[in-house]
Amino acid sequence: MEAVLKVEGLKKSYGDLLVIDGLNLELKRGESLFLFGPSGCGKTTFLKIVAGLIEDFEGKVERNFRKVGFVFQDPRLIPWLTVKENLLFVYEDERRVKEVIEIAGLQGFEDSFPRQLSGGMKQRVNLARAILSRPDLLILDEPFSSLDIHIKHRLMKDILRIKRRCKASLLGVTHDPKEASIMASKVVVLSKRPARILTVLEVSDSSEAEKKLIQIALENF
């Protein structure tokens, strides 16, 4: 199968601080790959490199996707625009916006302002914005970390449903073993900073995978 993303020998440092030390990985089309590692190990930096926000790094990053949708850790909504206007800001297509509002379960909130929404609803808008342009790669930067468990699980299910519907590949980072084991078909376990690959885990049974990840985390992080 074709690789949406191919990373070879990726290194990144901020000044003298080495953050990522030689990362090799491949994300195949339709796959869901999660990087699992301790907080502050350079996961977000990696995502920013993939999204093209950081341009100075060593190594090779081959991007074979057309469009990328980025679900940020915090919703990053423009406070003085309504939900609908926030979506139109990144993608000017009224019909598509309406469609996505339905997909993300935001009907009835089109004209609400971000401050009128709960944390979970804001993350839905964040997600809706990411899928507007029908991306073939969806990037998730710990989008569940600020949500309570109930909402977290619903949102995870929604993302997986949307992923199937849009036939997108998923690339996410997390430090939560449960999140990784539910969301991913493949988990890449990273070390503490500077990030190196410790092991790669194919997920077939999510509760089994979760146990393994917890063990790895206890031993290494």
């Binding site: 093209g52 980025f70 990053r76 800001f89 302002f113 914005r129 342009s133």
Partner: protein, 245 residues
Amino acid sequence: MKRYLFGIVVGIAVWWILSLIVNSEIILPSPMAVLGSLNKIITSREFYGALASTILKGLFSTLLVITIGTSIGMLMGLKRSLSDVLKPFVTLLQSVPVVSWLAFAIFLWGIGWKGPVLLTTLSLLPVVIINTYSGVLNVDTQLLEMARVYGVERKKIFKYIYLGSLLPFMLASLRITLGNVWKTILVTEFLCGDQGIGVMIAWARSYVDTPRIFALTLIGVVLAVSFERTGEGFFERVLRRWKLS
């Protein structure tokens, strides 16, 4: 409201008693003398021309201060290199005393409306520049990064992210300017004007007509307060519609 009026009544009573003690029209005229002067002023024809002239100068200066100050502040915020070049000039502008500009304005135009407008604009400009500049620096970088990820055009970024976060700062600029412009206009008219309330104060001073100076000052205060109050109501409405306050 009742207490407010009570305060004014007490103030006037104290003023009246003090004027009785001082017993000199030149140093502290009585409220009645000032009221008499005020009556004479507002029934004269000359006053309305002066009032209109002062208001026009004030509004014109406000317009200049806001447009120039906001543009410079924005450019400084958006272009790092430009802000490095302009910062010393802003500091300079802030610290040059009005009288130095005065000499310059008089050599250039003599007595007239241009001098007061220039002096007022120059003395209020730095506040608006700095205010706008810090507004641009205050723009949420996370929102800018979001816009970059989705490849949003620069024009839209400017309109929805920059202008949106600048609006409260621009309103604050307008409010500060409208609150201060009248004081400054009166002083600059006094110094180099040919018409206006400030000029009337200058004449009253040469005739040592203290009650008239008091009455004109009162008019200046009413002018400032009424513009500030009207402005305030307007700003609050705009901000409420902007869903920020």
